[in-house]
Amino acid sequence: MTEFKRPDGRKVNELRKITAKVGVVPNADGSAMFAFGDTVAIAAVYGPKKMHPQHSQNPEKGTLRCTYNMLSFSVNERIRPGPSRRSQEISKITEWALQPVVMIDEYASQVVDVHINILQANASTRCAGINAAAMALAHAGIPMKSLVQSVSIGKLDKQLVTDLIKAEEDWEEGEGPTDIPITLTGDGKISHIQLDGKISPKQLKEAIQLAKESQKQIYDEQVKALKKVGEEQ
């Protein structure tokens, strides 16, 4: 079989260049930037702080609240500013992806707010956002079991690939594109998975293994950036 050619020349299991930085929003209790190539996400954490509105307070345990937002000019065709159905769903998905590792039960009636913004988009924005959010939470000193790592696995025609770009999301040949964003916790469990496209159950199981293979590389970049902050202080 001939080697599968990706539009940007990467190997099938190769991530784009990761850029990760901590402390990008000085006002926040914790913040981070995470980029897969041209897809750039920043996240800022505020809290634990008193939950507003009051009726959203949970007197039993602390609440994690995530908001995902794309800047209007982060894509070719301007996005109308403000929440959309898509962004509301991704916000919730992000919350679910992070909740298993965030230990904020003791902050009853309080909230930890995570604001994620996509500055520039070339696919896999929710994954970059989740990776940035995990780092920002760690930077804020929120107790966590582990970080999480998120990556999109794609299927282009019949070929599985790691870390989709926009040109691949719109794949037109053969069976077309399938997009599978996956988030894994430190102990290798799935805290988030979605899928759009066309794939056999068997290959879906393979896709998860592929996500697992790139987990370490994302983790290393997150930790490297977090350690840098420690050294500067």
Binding site: R86, E89, W96, I190, I193, L204
Partner: protein, 264 residues
């Protein structure tokens, strides 16, 4: 959560022995009743009951301009409304997140499987195409609205007839049918949800079971191929568990498909 801790504990205890309150096995659906053509003014409609859960799905169509990136294709829109009459937990006012999520998950299953042949719903490229609007309403929520809605959507689509379009007047005549059905592929996309309650994987939860479900996966299959998937809720799943979820959904989907195909 409204189910009491005591009930929750008992449900988990039962499940650990492979039993449920209503006598079902973990992988067993409640009785599924499907009716079609339940609304005279809709282009297509369905009522789906799963046990005490009930949803109504209606298809309406009109003619509109296509989106720029799909100039030769009809448009698909899915909305869901959790009616306050369907549960004591719902109030007037903004819809809960689950309503938005349900509509988006059902939309993706139908869209990604290309069940509706949208290219055949083009009247004039770049100018006029059919809009297909799938509207889902909850009538009674006793758990598993997601699967009820997914079944209702495909059944209502199979029931739908395109109204007559008067090219000269540029108007849809809803009193007259064109006699044509909505062009659909024969492979029917079906969304099935598996929940994890305690350490058990179950299908078709009642409201009580849904309350204490810690995580769920909804997957849409058509002809054995996965077209959409969404994990909902915060509890993580090991890869091994996730693979079991996929197997259980595949098995359940076949049963539901047989039921839908036997309708006529």
């Amino acid at each position: 959560m409204i189910t009491s801790d005591l009930t929750a504990e008992r449900i988990r205890e039962y499940l650990s022995q492979g039993k449920r309150f209503d006598g079902r096995k973990p992988d067993e659906f409640r009785e599924l009743i499907i009716e079609t053509g339940v609304s005279k003014n809709a282009e297509g409609s369905a009522r789906v009951k799963i046990g005490k859960t009930e949803v109504l799905v209606g298809i309406k169509m009109d003619v509109a301009t296509p989106y720029a990136d799909s100039a030769g294709e009809g448009n698909l829109m899915v909305t869901a409304e959790f009616l306050p009459l369907s549960s004591p937990r719902l109030d007037l006012g903004p819809q809960p997140f689950e309503s938005l999520e349900l509509a988006r998950v059902i939309d993706r299953g139908i869209r990604e499987s290309h069940f509706i042949e949208l290219d055949k719903l083009c009247i004039k490229e770049g100018e006029k195409v059919w809009n297909v609007m799938i509207d889902i309403y909850t009538i009674n929520d006793d758990g598993n609205l997601m699967d009820a809605a997914g079944i209702g959507a495909v059944v209502a689509l199979r029931n739908a007839k395109i109204p007559k379009y008067d090219e000269e007047k540029g108007k849809v005549d809803y009193h007259e049918s064109s006699g044509k059905k909505v062009p659909l592929r024969k492979e029917i996309p079906i969304s099935i949800t598996v929940h994890k309650v305690g350490d058990s994987l179950i299908v078709d939860p009642t409201k009580e079971e849904e309350d204490i479900s810690e995580t769920r996966v909804t997957m849409c299959l058509a002809d054995g191929t996965v077209h959409s998937l969404q994990k909902g809720n915060a509890k993580e799943l090991s890869i091994e568990e996730f693979n079991k979820v996929i197997d259980l959904i595949e098995k359940t989907e076949k049963d539901i498909l047989n039921k839908i195909e036997s309708l006529k």
